[in-house]
């Protein structure tokens, strides 16, 4: 287990972490501001991946695929908010969970009808399919490095929008007292639709960037969604900063666990026992981490103020 290998896996963890962050940011904003649980957030991730893939094949340009994928997910998100989800803001979380569960079934099957059930392969653009040299002497895929850069860029942008712009001020105001904001003459319904669509586009971005790394297939969003829940619980609901820290912790712990837990355990217990216990424990690691965080801080690491 050389330093170079560990460093490479750390980068992989970071790349997985920023993907989780893009999902978690949208989910936590919608939760914190509208008090709405959106299980179908994973479906938007899937929709983003499929739309970008289809658009890239159609136009022949990766960047056009990204642009159309983002615009498409934004539109799909705003559409489902206006048609179905808007009426559920006033309901309890149970109703929201159930209705968005129905949406998941719908989207997974719709995607299967349009593109089939088999996994599709997306490839990174040719200008990102090379490797870059790391200072440790090993080489790292440029595409994964680009995801990390984009992830942190979006995080910075999000921080700027939420804390430094008028739109962000309205969003924060809407989170603390929606009636008051509406009384001051702000169109709160439009604001909610925008925030929802914005969150959807972030999920779509995560999905379309993940496409070339994992398979693009129906149901791809739910696996990520549940890990994103872990991120939001660890980070604290409604907190974008918590989402960033939680996502990077979860991404790194999960990736390092899958890579190194089995060989590490083999040095302590017998190799065949490690062979079966290693992967089992690795896949449970982030949930155990969540339980540990909850035991000490039930509100997460960075609870949002005034929520």
């Amino acid at each position: 287990m050389t330093f170079g290998l560990v460093f490479e896996q750390l980068l992989n963890g970071l790349q997985f972490g920023v993907t989780l962050f893009l999902m978690a940011a949208g989910l936590t904003l919608v939760l914190g501001i509208m008090n709405f649980v959106n299980l179908a957030h994973g479906s938007l991730y899937m929709v983003g991946a499929y739309l970008a893939l289809a658009a890239a094949n159609w136009t022949g340009s990766y960047l056009a695929g990204v642009a159309l994928g983002l615009a498409g997910t934004l539109l799909v998100g705003m559409l489902i908010e206006v048609i179905a989800l808007r009426t559920l803001y006033a309901r309890d979380h149970l109703d929201q969970v159930l209705a968005t569960f129905g949406l998941i079934l719908f989207f997974n099957e719709l995607v299967a009808i349009l593109w089939g059930r088999a996994a599709l392969f997306a490839s990174p653009p040719s200008w990102l399919s090379h490797h870059i040299d790391l200072f440790t002497g090993s080489r790292y895929p440029a595409y994964r490095a680009a995801i990390i850069v984009v992830g942190f860029f979006v995080a910075a942008l999000l921080w700027y929008v939420v804390t430094r712009t008028r739109l962000g001020m309205l969003i924060r105001a809407g989170a603390s007292n929606r009636t008051m904001v509406a009384a001051l003459g702000v169109n709160i319904r439009l604001l909610y639709t925008l925030v929802f669509g914005f969150g959807a586009a972030l999920a779509g971005l995560a999905g379309l960037m993940a496409g070339p790394i994992y398979n693009v297939q129906p149901g791809m969003g739910e696996l990520v969604l549940i890990q994103v829940f872990v991120v939001v619980v660890i980070g604290g609901i409604g907190s974008v900063r918590g989402a960033l820290v939680g996502a990077i912790i979860v991404g790194i712990v999960d990736t390092l666990g899958r890579a190194f837990l089995k060989p590490l355990m083999a040095t302590v217990i017998s190799a065949p026992a490690a062979e079966s216990a290693g992967p089992a424990l690795a896949s449970m690691l982030i949930y155990l981490l969540m339980a540990a965080v909850l035991a000490f801080r039930p509100q997460g690491l960075f609870p949002a103020r005034g929520g």
């Binding site: 159930l98 549940i226 619980v233």
Partner: protein, 310 residues
């Protein structure tokens, strides 16, 4: 008054009891299989109703106990233990222990945290099921033998059906007794007003945890039966879709009603069967139907039969 309440139950029990001879007479044994599956999952729905309907604990991870009950039967069978009583005991005890562990952490939280945490823990068990290759891993595992009981042979579809029916009735009865006991009163009080129940001296945590454990154990029983029903266990029993299905059974039927979960199990699984016989893309229809039912059909099926009963 009492007769008016007992009569519908008696009628439903008689209809369900007459179902096997009727289905065999018209030559549709497949529907006996479906009816048995519905009854077995109805037990799980009844158990979920105890914490979701009466306790207000929105557990999005109830499929965990279904899976643990099923794996208890499968693993004991794998090591050559066929005794049905041992299977049931192991299923119930294992589910209760896991429910105690999960409940102890999750019930400290509330609201949306509780939903996400119960879901996450169940997902953890799902991944555990996938990664343990000895017991089939991702592909699942065929049971070596169905649970063996004296007098009753579960290989006989009709006998198994009556076992399932008897256990559904038992689980409804047990839930009814729990809900109307002093314990159940505290549980319901904590749901309707937590701070008031604290003020009169009841801390909800131990009551909720106990209900969570009882519910998990009952669902484990359902899982043990389900393993015998399919003769096959797979991690999919613990998938989040299965948890969602169980929640929908309770909601469609009517939360916090005695008959709701059973009505909901019949409604959901019959609609699923109908749609899936019609098109392979049935979920594209079921999804919007479920959304509409959440938005417009708020009181559930039991609400049709019992007009505002407070």
């Amino acid at each position: 008054m009492a007769a008016r309440k007992i009569l519908p139950w008696l009628g439903a029990a008689i209809i369900l009891a007459l179902l096997p001879p009727f289905l065999l007479a018209i030559g549709q044994p497949f529907y006996l299989d479906l009816a048995r599956r519905i009854l077995i999952l109805a037990i799980a729905a009844v158990s979920l109703n105890l914490i979701l309907g009466y306790g207000g604990l929105v557990s999005f991870g109830h499929a965990a106990y279904l899976g643990i009950g099923a794996y208890a039967v499968g693993i004991l069978g794998f090591y050559g233990v066929g005794n049905g009583w041992l299977h049931i005991l192991a299923a119930v005890v294992a589910s209760a222990l896991v429910a105690a562990a999960i409940g102890a952490v999750s019930i400290r939280t509330s609201g949306i945290y509780f939903i996400m945490i119960t879901l996450a823990f169940t997902q953890m068990l799902y991944y555990l099921g996938i990664s343990v290759a000895e017991f089939g891993g991702d592909d699942g595992m065929r049971l070596k033998t169905r649970s063996l009981f004296p007098l009753v042979d579960l290989n006989d579809p009709v006998a198994f059906y009556y076992v399932a029916l008897a256990l559904v009735i038992l689980s409804i009865f047990v839930t009814h007794r729990i809900v109307h006991s002093r314990f159940g009163m505290v549980l319901r009080a904590a749901k309707s007003n937590e701070s008031r129940s604290r003020a009169i001296g009841f801390s909800p945590y131990p009551y909720r945890l106990a209900a969570f454990v009882i519910s998990g154990a009952m669902c484990g029983l359902s899982g043990a039966l389900y393993a015998n029903h399919t003769n096959y266990i797979t991690p999919n029993l613990m998938s989040w879709q299965q948890s969602g299905d169980l929640m929908f059974m309770v909601i469609l039927g009517g939360m916090a009603t005695a008959s709701g979960p059973v009505l909901g199990a019949f409604a959901l699984l019959l609609v699923e069967d109908l749609l899936s016989g019609w098109t392979q893309h049935w979920q594209v229809i079921l999804g919007p139907l479920l959304i509409l039912s959440v938005i417009f059909f708020r009181r559930g099926l039991a609400g049709i039969f019992y007009k505002a009963d407070a």
